[in-house]
């Protein structure tokens, strides 16, 4: 069993993801997007980076890569799929999850630590937390502003598909705590199944104790099933 970390041209968090997963005793390997998913794939991670140089729109090209047909099929069959940062943009562009991630309200690339409030703790990705928990995870993106139609946003809320929202250290959803202007302070959402999730913050950058916080561990352990 292994978690396939899909490496597109321009991915740059793929090695970090494998290392963070291995640290958690989760077997993982990088898989080039022109290759096939390993037969023993038990999970799929779409890592951060700048696939195809963010040409057209962040994630747009990678989302149309042939391997994404296999990723969608695996997701529909129940394989856990997690998209992080550029992987979230790829997941959104490929239809794995709803809405879109577009230019930050600041029109700038932002690299900073943020607080997230756990909105739904009944998923593999949040099983380690309680609803309302506040965790600290870094972001690093220029196109992370979550946009979605009002109708679809209402559906997301009604179906408990909102996984994390940006908040302050006390868990309050304020405009100041929303780093990119996302609708509803949304930082991460679920797909149709709760085994499929995307988020803009980087859990793999807050997993190894040597480089700072470890709040991301509870998210990545979702691959243990």
């Amino acid at each position: 069993m292994t978690v396939a970390v899909i490496q597109f041209g321009g991915s740059n968090c793929d090695r970090d993801a494998v290392r963070a997963l291995n640290y958690l005793d989760i077997d993982a390997e990088r898989v080039w997007h022109e290759d096939e998913l390993p037969a023993d794939t038990t999970g799929i991670m779409l890592p951060g980076g700048f696939s195809y140089g963010d040409y057209l729109r962040a994630g747009a090209m990678a989302a149309r890569s042939p391997i994404m047909d296999d990723v969608r099929a695996a997701a529909e069959a129940g394989t856990p799929v997690l998209g992080v940062c550029n992987g979230a943009q790829v997941g959104s562009e490929s239809g794995l999850t709803g809405g879109a991630f577009t230019t930050n309200k600041s029109a700038r690339f932002q690299c900073e630590h943020v607080y997230l409030r756990v909105e739904n703790a009944e998923t593999p990705w949040t099983d380690a937390f309680e609803q309302g928990d506040v965790i600290e995870i870094p972001i690093a993106h220029g196109e992370g502003r979550f946009e979605i139609t009002d109708e679809r946003y209402t559906e997301l809320e009604a179906n408990d598909q909102i996984l994390f929202r940006y908040c302050d250290a006390e868990g309050n959803l304020t405009e100041e705590a929303n780093p990119n202007g996302s609708t509803g302070n949304v930082a991460g959402i679920l797909g149709e199944r709760d085994s499929v999730a995307v988020l803009m913050p980087h859990p793999e950058r807050s997993t190894l104790p040597d480089i700072g916080g470890t709040d991301g561990q509870g998210i990545l352990t979702g691959f243990r099933g």
Binding site: A60, E93, T103, A107, I148, G181
Partner: protein, 87 residues
Amino acid sequence: MRTYTATVTVRLKSGVLDPEAETTKGALQRLGFELSALRAADQYELDLEADNEAAARERVEEMAERLLANPTIHDYEIAVAEAETAT
């Protein structure tokens, strides 16, 4: 087969914030220009061979739907014209 040039204009839906356009508008105002709004759009020109204009438009619409625009945040317009042939 005839040669057509299709122009696809992709813009953010009305009401979707465009921070880059806002920044550009602010820069124009700092230069002393008066304006009340600035909207930006991406434009793609595609040359293609097709039996007729309707067939060309149909193919370009599919391109816009599947890649050039993101229906969650974008509207798009397509204009198709027969290319001037060099004789």
